[in-house]
Symmetry: C2
Subunit: 270 residues, 2 copies
């Protein structure tokens, strides 16, 4: 078996690849036997990253050796390696980035934008382990935009909670949530105990709520967001702004979520 010797990539940090010392090329390739070299190379790399069921195999984001290194190891021209990588990229197994390298493709999770989508359920349904880490909780006066979304007068108190959502330990979303203080005076304390929004709302007498309208945009992450999401500052975040309402239709929450676009895609069923 051909060892591709990949190094895990923490976040987007480059992390120097462990280049094996220059040595005689692998002779696992058969030349002139009817199977193109690039096909054999593609198969060898595919075996090494072990792409099969989602969540199995090499860690997504792991960096492959450089094209030059692979060419040396297999004893072929860089073009031949590139042809193999091209194939793997077309099949969605890897992602190639100019100036950075090639990486094992992230397995992209779907986030359905239905009226009753809940983060934890969604992640679990895709066989990942959901987790949440509360970043900060504060009580503050509502800015104009927040007040308008929640139907409050500007300056009324709101509870703001910022939470990092993870799937299998990998950060996928930062959510900022605003609740009207006058209706949920205990919200800050509840969320400090248990980061689950659904649970906190239930304990405040709102066992059910609906997502009313969601606005979707995209922008570059702030430095802080890039760190929290463990992603490159050169890749965008998907931003959703949603209003959740109780069964009576009264807005109870404004949530602004920023998704790592490489790890999460939004899905709308019509």
């Amino acid at each position: 078996m051909v060892e591709v010797s990949m190094t895990p990539k923490p976040g987007s940090a480059p992390g120097a690849a462990l280049h094996a010392m220059a040595r005689s090329p692998d002779n696992t390739l058969t030349r002139g036997q009817g199977v193109a070299l690039w096909r054999q190379i593609a198969s060898a790399i595919e075996r090494d990253i072990g792409a099969s069921a989602p969540g199995r195999g090499a860690d997504p984001g792991t960096r492959l050796p450089t094209e030059a290194a692979l060419a040396g190891r297999f004893g072929v021209n860089r073009h031949t390696v590139r042809r193999a990588l091209e194939e793997l990229e077309a099949r969605g197994l890897i992602r190639v980035e100019q100036g950075r390298g090639s990486f094992v493709a992230e397995d992209v999770l779907d986030y359905p934008l239905g009226p009753r989508t809940r983060f934890s359920e969604t992640i679990r349904r895709q066989n990942r382990e959901p987790a949440g880490r509360m970043l900060r909780i504060a009580e503050m006066a509502a800015e104009a935009a927040v007040a308008k979304a929640l139907g409050l007068r500007r300056g009324r108190g709101v509870v703001m909670a910022e939470r990092l959502g993870l799937a299998n330990g990998r950060p996928v979303v930062i959510g900022t949530h605003y609740f009207p203080s006058h209706r949920f005076p205990a919200m800050a304390a509840l969320l400090a105990e248990d980061p689950s929004i659904t649970a906190a709302l239930a304990r405040c007498g709102v066992p059910d709520y609906r997502r009313q309208v969601t606005r979707i945009t995209s922008r570059m992450p702030t430095p802080e967001e890039a760190v929290l999401l463990q992603q490159s500052r050169a890749r965008p975040v998907l931003v959703t702004e949603a209003i959740n309402a109780d069964p009576a239709g009264t807005p109870i929450e404004l949530s602004i979520a920023r998704y790592a676009a490489a790890r999460m895609q939004l899905v709308v069923e019509s």
Copy 2:
């Protein structure tokens, strides 16, 4: 009235601002009368960019003078100008980019993702004039991803049409559409005449169709996309992948659209 003397910004080109010659500061500001200088400055700039009804006022994307120039003109410190700009940015009137300057905010159009959303109708409903420019039409063998989406065997023929969508003459979206050739043999010819997809489908015996599922992601634009959308390569595009089906539920079109995230936001009503 304070003249802010802005220069239009073609696309994302930096475009040096027309700096007015240093001269005595405006004396339109009243000091020590209970209204903070930055508020007066913010109001003055707001008047000049004429933010009111959407689509009115200064051209979106127009560049404001540099902070230093504004400070000189108003006879205040740069910090004071920054406080004013901060306020305007928070209110969505301008956009400040580190190292580039400040710009009149684009008026963001909403694109509702309903089952029957049509581009032209959507744009018209927001009081803009829709237009479309066909970029290219080709017939080709379906790649794996396209074939799968349309429920075809790989390699079957598909008609591919790429179209630029504009609102008030400003590009907002690039759409790539795939149709199965065997069902719509005349599609290429029809679209060459009239770029309207809805019209072409109607003439092929499909007067109605529904968007089934939409997947939403985000990424950086290719150089070509940045040129077509007249946006900076440093700003992301929103990408939607949607499957449209006839009333019987048979997939008839795969469409991949890339929106200029600064000019268009997607809206989902639940």
